[in-house]
């Protein structure tokens, strides 16, 4: 915001006006309007530039995906004349795209269901109850967010190969649960914090146990929060690269994150098809994301900022 330092008379009129009538003096409001005209031009300018920066890489990817030849990305000008959806048709009909879709969905949904189911009661407990060990427990939930890939990957690899779970969906789901479960618990705590405690009190007065309160009163109210936690763990599993590319060996079981990388060797460097695949992967996810994005942040930051 740009501004000029207000002079003393301005200030006193503003203060006087405010105390007497409760509305700002005409002079002040004109001053504000002048400021906001110049200011809003600058604001719009910056926001437009930022929006272009945010939009361009994605728009470019979509644009490139419409070029039919594999070298079109080097000569983007040529695409304009011959835009086509052939790439999409080819990807859907003649590649492993649908296999990858299947395995991505199995793994992500599996993680989501297990993650949310297990985490729900915990989120409620840490939101409502202060038990000995509470702070340590919250600390553990945070620390599990810090695990670098390498610290669990090697032992997980060993354990899963002992259990014959390498290259199996279950193995990958279990690995993802190690991050999704504490994450969901953390998120859900934030959401449960926003539900008034009076509801619990009412339930308790009516003779419900804490479990009853949770199941009958709080869970139905927490549906949006559960949806957000579900979406977040879905996305996390959906986009994970390191574990997926190490633990999944057969190419029909690849998730999208791995499949997209393996496209080059499989399809003779047909970049046009890769672009189309990337767009096909991104569009539904982005669509869902837009539906829930407001709640995502509320859930996450509330969990961290409320005591």
């Amino acid at each position: 915001m740009s501004t000029t330092t207000p002079t003393t008379p301005d200030r006193t009129t503003a203060r006087a006006d405010r105390t007497t009538t409760g509305t700002p003096a005409p002079r002040t409001s004109r001053g504000r309007a002048e400021r906001s005209l110049a200011g809003s031009l600058v604001s719009h300018g910056i926001l437009i530039v930022a929006s272009l920066a945010a939009l361009f890489p994605i728009a470019w990817l979509v644009f490139l995906s419409l070029g039919p030849d594999k070298d079109d990305y080097l000569h983007p000008g040529r695409i304009l004349d011959k835009m086509t959806f052939d790439n999409y048709a080819f990807v859907l009909q003649h590649t492993s795209f649908l296999d990858w879709l299947k395995s991505t969905l199995i793994v992500s949904l599996g993680t989501t269901v297990i993650g949310v189911l297990i985490a729900a009661t915990t989120g409620y407990a840490v939101s409502r109850m202060r038990f000995p060990g509470y702070r340590k427990f919250m600390w553990v939930l945070l620390v599990t967010q810090m695990f670098p890939v390498a610290v669990l990957m090697v032992p997980m690899y060993e354990i899963l190969s002992e259990l014959q779970l390498i290259d199996s969906y279950l193995g990958l789901v279990l690995v993802y649960c190690s991050t999704a479960v504490p994450y969901c618990a953390w998120l859900l705590k934030g959401y449960f914090d926003t539900i008034p405690f009076e509801i619990d009190e009412a339930g308790r007065v009516d003779g419900l146990s804490p479990f009853g309160t949770f199941a009958r009163l709080i869970l139905p109210l927490a549906k949006p929060g559960l949806a957000v936690a579900a979406f977040y763990s879905f996305i996390t599993a959906f986009g994970e690269v390191a574990f997926a590319s190490t633990f999944m060996l057969s190419d029909t079981k690849y998730t999208f994150a791995v499949g997209l990388q393996s496209f080059v060797s499989e399809h003779d460097a047909q970049q046009n098809l890769m672009f189309a695949t990337a767009v096909l992967v991104a569009i539904p996810v982005a669509g869902f994301f837009y539906l829930v994005q407001k709640n995502l942040v509320a859930g996450l930051t509330a969990g961290g900022t409320k005591g």
């Binding site: 926001l47 109850m129 000995p132 695990f147 890939v149 390498a150 997209l260 930051t301 969990g303 005591g307």
Partner: protein
């Protein structure tokens, strides 16, 4: 008796008045808390089985010389038993002060710190700037917000894939630079530009989260504070410094901490941008992955040791960060 909701009545534990005897207190505590323990039990079990057990095993692995040649493995129908040996803290010593430890660990360590600091700073500053702009009464701000959030909505592996083609030698960025008669750097080959590109892409990916969180924080600041400040003659900078920043502190402290943790462990951006082609642009996480899974023979022990070191760095950082926040009388809810 009151099991739930003791927070609603404040943080006091136990009854105010006379203290009951130890036995009664134990019983009381059990009655008060068994619900809580029952409710967190599933997560505790999962964390124990899926996190703690692998972690302990991983830590044991760092004390051995395990690699892909001497670990247990199955070739066809033959199962070969593990033959690696316990070697104590040699791996850590080798990583931290062994020969060439600078080239392998410390150079990556310095770059990881620089990477984290630069990325989080850029995320925060740009995110806060955009949030402040979007928090004004402005035509079309919902529209801007929806567009600006886009980088967050698309899975990282897709956006990084797109960026790779934009940054490639014949890609759109260099074409534009050439038309403007500017030098066209080798983004994906030259070390300095690799690092530059990595920071750029990660900033692009991370700003929306900061922006939206800080926007939420801004909207929760009471507007009467601004009016009061304005009446007292505070200029825009002073209002920002003494009203906005303090009002954002609790949100900021959380998102900065999360940002540091996520950026420090940011695997996808660097791994997908360069693969194995950029030894000098690898941060510690991707380097550890390279040791354990990106080379032959795979060095499991050293990879896991890197992992433990990374975790230790983050835990130390977080502890200091919390202490520093608490000294400033800020609460971070952990």
């Amino acid at each position: 008796m009151t099991v739930a909701i003791d927070r609603a009545t404040g943080k006091r534990r136990g009854e105010p008045g006379g203290r009951p005897g130890p036995l009664a207190r134990l019983k009381n505590s059990y009655q008060r808390n068994w619900y809580a323990y029952a409710m967190i039990a599933p997560v505790v079990v999962v964390l124990g089985v899926l996190v703690l057990y692998p972690l302990v095993r991983g830590f044991y692995l760092t004390l051995t010389n395990a690699n892909s040649l001497n670990s247990a493995r199955t070739i066809g129908v033959n199962h070969i038993e593990a033959t690696y040996e316990f070697i104590g803290f040699d791996n850590y010593a080798d990583i931290l002060w062994g020969p060439t430890s600078y080239d392998r660990f410390w150079s990556h360590f310095v770059w990881t710190i620089v990477w984290t600091a630069l990325c989080v700073t850029l995320h925060y500053v740009i995110g806060l700037g955009l949030a402040l702009l979007l928090n004004q009464k402005l035509r079309g701000r919902t529209f801007y917000r929806l567009i600006l959030i886009l980088p967050w909505a698309v899975p990282t592996f897709v956006t990084v894939f797109g960026w790779r083609f934009m940054l490639a030698d014949g890609g759109v960025i260099n074409s534009v630079l050439e038309t403007l008669h500017l030098p066209a750097p080798l983004w994906l080959e030259d070390t300095f530009w690799q690092r530059f590109a990595a920071i750029m892409v990660n900033t692009w990916c991370g700003v929306p989260f900061m922006m939206v969180s800080l926007l939420g924080g801004l909207q929760s600041i009471d507007t009467s504070l601004y009016e009061a400040a304005e009446m007292d003659g505070a200029n825009a900078w002073q209002r920002f410094r003494y009203v906005t920043l303090p009002g954002l502190r609790s949100v900021s402290s959380t998102v900065v901490l999360l940002g540091v943790i996520w950026t420090f462990n940011q695997f996808a951006v660097i791994f997908l941008l360069f693969g194995d082609t950029a030894p000098d642009a690898q941060i510690l996480v991707t380097w550890a992955y390279h040791l354990g899974f990106g080379q032959q023979p795979r060095d499991f022990a050293q990879s896991a040791a890197y992992g433990i070191l990374l975790l230790a760095i983050l835990i130390v950082f977080t502890s200091f960060y919390r202490r520093w926040l608490n000294r400033d009388e800020q609460q971070l809810a952990i």
